[in-house]
Structures are given as structure tokens and as C-alpha cells.
């Protein structure tokens, strides 16, 4: 009896050893909630595992905020994921400087730069610095104004004609006169307000003012572009275009207000129209055909090129000690063919320019084309400037600007002071 147990135990140990040596597990950390996108990833993982029976890819979900807070601990423990989602910017820079992530330059340049050439150059540039590539580009997003065609018609506003800030303010006045809430915004989450300030600064001073400020040249975030952006934002707040209680509203409530037809405009992401039915109280909302879109208007006397865009760029980072299969899997997952499949989901803007033709949602397609033509795509400031200056200070200042708590000069000063300490 005892002998048999010993044999069984030995056999089991042997089997588990065999299993361990045959299987490589690649762990992947993602904040993705969209079921369409997750289904896409599941099928990509299935295909890869079928082609590589010795590799197993495990996806782990964590919300974006939780991920940001937990990553430092995870990366210094044995629970470090091999692959994890990134918004680029300051966090990615700190990760590369502390050697937590893998330098992918050699992989990108192998075979005459085959992998590098599979993406649009802007996408690779967004994740390169110090001449090195630090991430595998995944998707882009762009911020635009979305409007309710019915409400605009009711107020006598032509959405397609809004080109300048004055047009925009005039539209707000008309909407208010018609008893319609012009804009839904979520100031509790703060970052929805920073879209306004960042775009206004981009229209005021153009890409150069951002490049200079980030490089700590000249007056930085105290320069005219940013102060004027603050003034325009404060004036916008004084015109009271937002829904009642916007100070306590989050992004989700904002989307619901727009999806249900209670607010005429929202400054949203390129995937906002596609996600609207989910946000609507009746899970249908105002309907895709009722949503119009216009680019962020130019400002009077602004030096910025109106073709410049603002939005996100997402990528996958590879942990420094990740298994080689992690990189190989990402190469497969973001191949042009898979990018085309991803684009066909109408989930967001792919990082391979040619894949954009697969997008069928007209609003998303138009955003993808704008990004494709854009001479400069500014990443979200709460990512680009890092969690301290961007998420902490900029987001706080923009909310105080719009609610009139702080003067534009003081807000610019506080942002620059925080940036100086970086």
C-alpha cells in the first residue's frame, strides 16, 4: 500500500516537472473592459497558442487606476507581468529610466527594421526616446467634439460650420437660449476638463509650445499659450455651458447625459460614439446617425495648426526579465493583418495607417483620418507629464480654472512650479 502511494506520488511529481518544462506562461496585464476588444484578444491568443503549443498566454484584468497604483509593487516582485498596458508618457519614461522595462530597439530593427516598418512612424516615435524604442504600439485615440444633431437643429446651430472658438461660443449661446444644456462634462474625474485646456493651448501656441514646455525651455507652462488657454477656459466656465452639478459628475454620468439626449455636446474620445449605447439609460441612446462631430475649434490669434491633434496613444510594455515569447507574441498580435482585424471592430484607431480603411463607423473613420494626417499628436497631459504634474496638478488646476477658483496666471505658475521639480 505504502509502496503504491510512493509510486503514485513520484509519477505525479514527474508529470508536473514535465509540464513545467514544456509550458512557458506569458502573463499579460490589461485594463481593457470592452468585450469586443477582449474577444479579439482571446482569439489572437488562441491562434498563437495553437501555433506555439508550448506557450500559454494568460490575460489578467485590472482597472487603469488600480494598475497605476499597483505596478511599482508588482514590478519589484515575482508577480511582475511579462506584458502590460501603457499610456506612454511620464510613467513609461520612469519605467525605462529605472530599467524596469525592456529596450525593444534591437527587436524593432532586426531584419532590416521589418517590425518597425509595420507601424506608422508617428506611432513608433510616440514610444521612443533617447533613440530607443520602449514599447509595442497598440492603438491611438483622438479627442473631438461630438454633438446631438437633433438638439443642434432645435437651437438652429450648424455643427459643420463650427470652425472657430467664437463660432463655438455662439453655438453655446444659441443652445442656452433654446433651453438646452450645451455641454456635458465630468469635473469630478477632472481629466475630462483637461481636454479643453490642452486643446486650447495647442490651438494657441501649437506643437512648439508643448515641445518647449516639456523640454523646460523658455517660459514653459507659464508661457502665453498656456495662460491664454486658461483665460479662455475660465471664460467658458463663466458662460455656464455645463450640466447642473457637473462639479460632482464623473465621466460615466457625462456620457449618459449625452447618450440620453440631455446635453448637446461632449468633448469625447474617438470611441465615444461607438460606446454610447452602453452609456444610455435605455441601452440604445440617441442613435449613431444622430451624432455629429467637429474638430476642436481654432482660437482667435492662435498660432497652432488646426490639423494638430490631441488624444491618447497606447502600447504594450515588456518587463525587463520577460520571456522571449512575450515579444514574439506581441509581434504577432500587432501584425498588420491583426491590426486590420482590430480596426474592423470599430473600437479605436489602429497604429498601422493602412488598417484604418477597415473602420466602418464614419465618425471613427474620420477621426482616424485626422490622426493619420496630423502633423503632431499630443498625448494626454495626465499621462505625458506623469502622474504627479499631469494627473495631480494639471487636472486640479483646470477644474479650478473652469469653476473660477484660481486665476489663469496662478494656475500656469503652479503647473510650472510642479514641472520644475521634475
Amino acid at each position: 500500500m505504502r509502496f503504491r502511494i510512493a509510486i503514485a506520488a513520484a509519477a505525479m511529481t514527474f508529470a508536473s516537472m514535465l509540464g513545467a518544462s514544456a509550458q512557458t506562461t506569458v502573463r499579460m496585464l490589461t485594463p481593457e473592459k470592452n468585450p469586443k476588444i477582449n474577444a479579439f484578444w482571446e482569439s489572437v491568443i488562441q491562434e498563437y497558442q495553437t501555433a506555439h503549443p508550448d506557450v500559454s498566454i494568460e490575460q489578467q484584468y485590472m482597472s487603469g487606476d488600480a494598475m497605476m497604483a499597483k505596478l511599482p509593487t508588482m514590478l519589484s516582485s515575482s508577480a511582475a507581468p511579462d506584458i502590460f498596458f501603457s499610456w506612454g508618457g511620464g510613467v513609461m519614461r520612469s519605467l525605462s529610466q529605472t530599467g524596469a522595462i525592456k529596450d525593444l530597439t534591437a527587436d524593432f530593427d532586426a531584419d532590416g527594421g521589418a517590425w518597425r516598418k509595420s507601424y506608422s512612424p508617428a506611432a513608433v516615435d510616440a514610444f521612443s526616446f533617447d533613440g530607443k524604442v520602449w514599447a509595442v504600439p497598440y492603438k491611438l485615440s483622438m479627442i473631438n467634439f461630438y454633438y446631438n444633431k437633433d438638439l443642434f437643429e432645435k437651437a438652429g446651430v450648424d455643427g459643420d460650420a463650427i470652425r472657430s472658438w467664437d463660432d463655438f461660443l455662439a453655438a453655446i449661446a444659441k443652445l442656452k437660449a433654446a433651453g438646452i444644456t450645451p455641454i456635458a462634462v465630468g469635473a469630478k474625474d477632472k481629466w475630462p476638463v483637461h481636454f479643453y485646456w490642452a486643446y486650447l493651448a495647442l490651438r494657441e501656441g501649437g506643437s512648439q509650445s508643448f515641445i518647449d514646455a516639456k523640454a523646460k525651455r523658455g517660459d514653459g507652462f507659464k508661457s502665453d499659450s498656456f495662460v491664454k488657454a486658461g483665460e479662455l477656459l475660465q471664460k467658458l466656465g463663466e458662460a455656464a455651458p455645463f450640466q447642473r452639478g457637473f462639479e460632482a459628475a464623473g465621466w460615466g454620468e457625462t456620457l449618459t447625459d449625452f447618450a440620453d439626449g440631455r446635453a448637446a455636446m461632449v468633448l469625447g474620445f474617438s470611441d465615444t460614439p461607438e460606446n454610447l449605447p452602453d452609456s444610455a439609460t435605455d441601452k440604445k441612446g440617441i442613435g449613431q446617425e444622430k451624432i455629429g462631430m467637429f474638430a476642436f475649434p481654432s482660437v482667435p490669434g492662435g498660432k497652432g495648426d488646426p490639423a494638430e491633434t490631441f488624444g491618447g496613444n497606447n502600447a504594450w510594455l515588456v518587463y525587463k526579465d520577460a520571456k522571449p515569447e512575450a515579444v514574439d507574441f506581441l509581434r504577432y498580435a500587432t501584425s498588420p493583418a491583426n491590426q486590420a482585424r482590430y480596426a474592423a471592430l470599430n473600437a479605436d484607431i489602429p497604429v498601422v495607417a493602412s488598417a484604418a480603411s477597415e473602420i466602418t463607423n464614419p465618425l471613427l473613420k474620420s477621426a482616424a483620418e485626422s490622426v493619420g494626417k496630423s502633423p503632431f499628436h499630443q498625448n494626454f497631459l495626465d499621462q505625458d507629464l506623469g502622474p504627479d504634474v499631469g494627473w495631480g496638478v494639471v487636472n486640479q488646476m483646470v477644474v479650478e480654472l473652469v469653476t473660477g477658483e484660481i486665476s489663469p496666471a496662478d494656475a500656469a505658475q503652479q503647473i510650472q512650479d510642479a514641472w520644475d521639480l521634475q
Binding site: 511599482p72 520612469s94 529605472t98 452639478g245 502622474p387 494627473w391
Partner: protein, 308 residues
């Protein structure tokens, strides 16, 4: 010490009744039984505390190892921060409301539902229910209640014919809205403590006083209250420590906003330390918070709970 020598007279305490072991003396027992919990306590409580103290002297984003030593700069920034001062004031307000409003309310309800009447158990359960609820769930529920468009507050406003306010969007009023939730959430816990305390008071005292012609008020003031003193002292102790650590309720309600008017020290620690990846600064907040809690706990134990 000769407690374990066979010649000692019949042992009085339970420790002395332990069988004499040739290998384990009293010290031996202490080592064997205390070691596991001491190891756990050291690695999970003492070490992180020392670490936080160490980090608080660095400017560190959490990645790699802390290298940029900044001395006391984090503490200077902390006490120079108007938001931290608001958080301190809010914590003070929460303590005041807990002690001045919540505990008397809990005591009053406890005296009502500790009597034997049909439905007493039901009311006890109902009053205790908010405490059973997760803090975050309570926060979310109340954020719906306070919603100026669809919430209970909105319906109330419409019914009474005034424009419903957005309480959580108003930086003057948001903190009071949060205070209501805190009182609602925790009074049940204190009520339960008081019910237990009341049940420990022998009915003989009340009977005797009643025979002597004492009024209900007199009986409460001269019998219930003095005999309940230990429970009240404990209740205040929990209230203050809980108030200093307020966090879970605030996050779903306001995230410390609008304009940082509802920050507590812990939400400040989280939003200005951890979320901004300023681990050194966050640690400095943690150190200050710890010192406040520890000072209070020791002082209160020495001065108020000394009899128990």
C-alpha cells in the same frame, strides 16, 4: 522564580497549573508561542512602518530604489499645503460630529431598542444594517441619493417645490453631505456597543431607584450613564480612530472634491501620494497620521481607559 518547583504550595493562577516540562520553562513557552506572531507582526507591521518612515525622507516615484534624499522637504511641503490643512480640519470635523452627534444618537437609540418590546430585534437589525454594508457601496448609494437630477434629494426638492441642490457639487456643503453619510454608516456600530453595555447593567438598580421614586431622567443620569461610562469611553476611542482613518466613504462620494473641500488625511495620502506616485510624500503623510493616531491611542488609554 520557583513557581514550577514541585515543592511550591497549590498554585493559584492557571499558568502555575501547567504541567512541569523538563525542556520548556516559562521563557521557553513564551519563545515557542510568541515567536510566530512576533515574526508576523514584525514583518507585516513594524517593518513597513519603519520603511514608510525611511521613504518619507526621499523624493521617490516607487520604481527602483529611493535615491533622491530630500531631508524634511516632504514634511515642509505637507504642512505648507492648504489641502492638507483642509483635510486636517475635515478630520477634526468628523471627530466632532462623531462624538457630539453620533454617539448621543447611538446611545439614545440603544436605550430605546434594548428594552423588551415586540419588534425590538427588528429595529436593532435595521439600525445595524448600514454598518454591515461595505463602505464603498454605502458611498455609491449615497451619491445616487444626493444626485440633483434623479436622487432622493431631487425628488424631495421637487415635492417641496424648490430647485434641488447638487450637494456634492457645492464646496460649501459637500463636506456636510459626507458627514451625514458617515453618521448614518457608523451609528449602528456604536448602538450595538451600547446595547451590550446596557444589558450588562443589572435591572435591580433601576428597580430599586424606581421604588425610591426616581424619575426616568434621574435613573438615566445617575444609573445608566455612570455604569455605561466604560462603554462610552470605548465608543469614543473607536470613533476618533475611525474618524482619523476616514477614506472609503469619501472616494465614491466626492474623491475629495469639489476643489479638495472634502479631503480627509487618508484620501489626501492616497490622491497626493500614491496616485501621483510620490511615495516619499505619501509616506510623510502616513508618518504624520500614524503619530497622531498613536499619540491619541496611548494618551487616551493612559488617561481615560486606565481603569479598564
Amino acid at each position: 522564580m520557583s513557581e514550577f518547583a514541585p515543592s511550591t504550595p497549590a498554585p493559584a493562577s492557571s499558568l502555575r497549573r501547567l504541567p512541569k516540562s523538563p525542556s520548556l520553562g516559562a521563557t521557553g513557552f513564551l519563545v515557542v508561542f510568541l515567536a510566530p506572531s512576533l515574526v508576523l507582526f514584525t514583518t507585516l507591521v513594524i517593518l513597513p512602518m519603519i520603511q514608510a518612515g525611511w521613504y518619507s525622507f526621499f523624493d521617490w516615484n516607487g520604481y527602483g530604489v529611493p535615491e533622491n534624499f530630500v531631508g524634511l522637504r516632504n514634511f515642509q511641503q505637507l504642512f505648507g499645503s492648504s489641502v492638507f490643512l483642509t483635510a486636517l480640519r475635515n478630520n477634526g470635523l468628523i471627530i466632532a460630529v462623531s462624538v457630539v452627534l453620533q454617539i448621543p444618537l447611538a446611545l439614545w437609540l440603544a436605550t430605546l431598542v434594548s428594552r423588551r418590546f415586540a419588534g425590538a430585534v427588528f429595529f436593532r437589525a435595521v439600525f445595524f444594517l448600514p454598518f454591515v454594508l461595505a463602505d464603498v457601496a454605502a458611498g455609491i448609494i449615497w451619491s445616487f441619493i444626493y444626485d440633483g437630477n434623479y436622487g432622493l434629494v431631487a425628488s424631495l426638492g421637487h415635492a417641496l417645490g424648490f430647485d434641488p441642490p447638487f450637494l456634492l457639487a457645492d464646496k460649501q456643503w459637500a463636506i456636510y453631505a459626507v458627514l451625514v453619510v458617515i453618521v448614518w454608516k457608523y451609528f449602528g456600530f456604536h448602538m450595538m456597543l451600547f446595547i451590550a453595555g446596557l444589558q450588562g447593567i443589572s435591572p435591580d438598580y433601576h428597580e430599586a431607584a424606581e421604588i425610591d421614586g426616581a424619575s426616568r431622567r434621574q435613573r438615566f443620569l445617575h444609573i445608566t450613564l455612570p455604569l455605561l461610562k466604560p462603554t462610552i469611553a470605548l465608543s469614543v476611542f473607536f470613533s476618533v480612530l475611525g474618524a482619523l482613518q476616514t477614506f472609503d466613504v469619501i472616494m465614491p462620494l466626492t474623491q475629495g472634491g469639489p476643489a479638495n473641500s472634502t479631503q480627509s488625511m487618508v484620501s489626501f495620502l492616497y490622491l497626493f501620494g500614491i496616485s501621483r506616485m510620490k511615495i516619499g510624500f505619501g509616506s510623510a503623510v502616513g508618518v504624520v497620521l500614524f503619530l497622531m493616531c498613536a499619540t491619541f491611542a496611548f494618551a487616551y488609554k493612559k488617561m481615560v481607559l486606565k481603569d479598564e
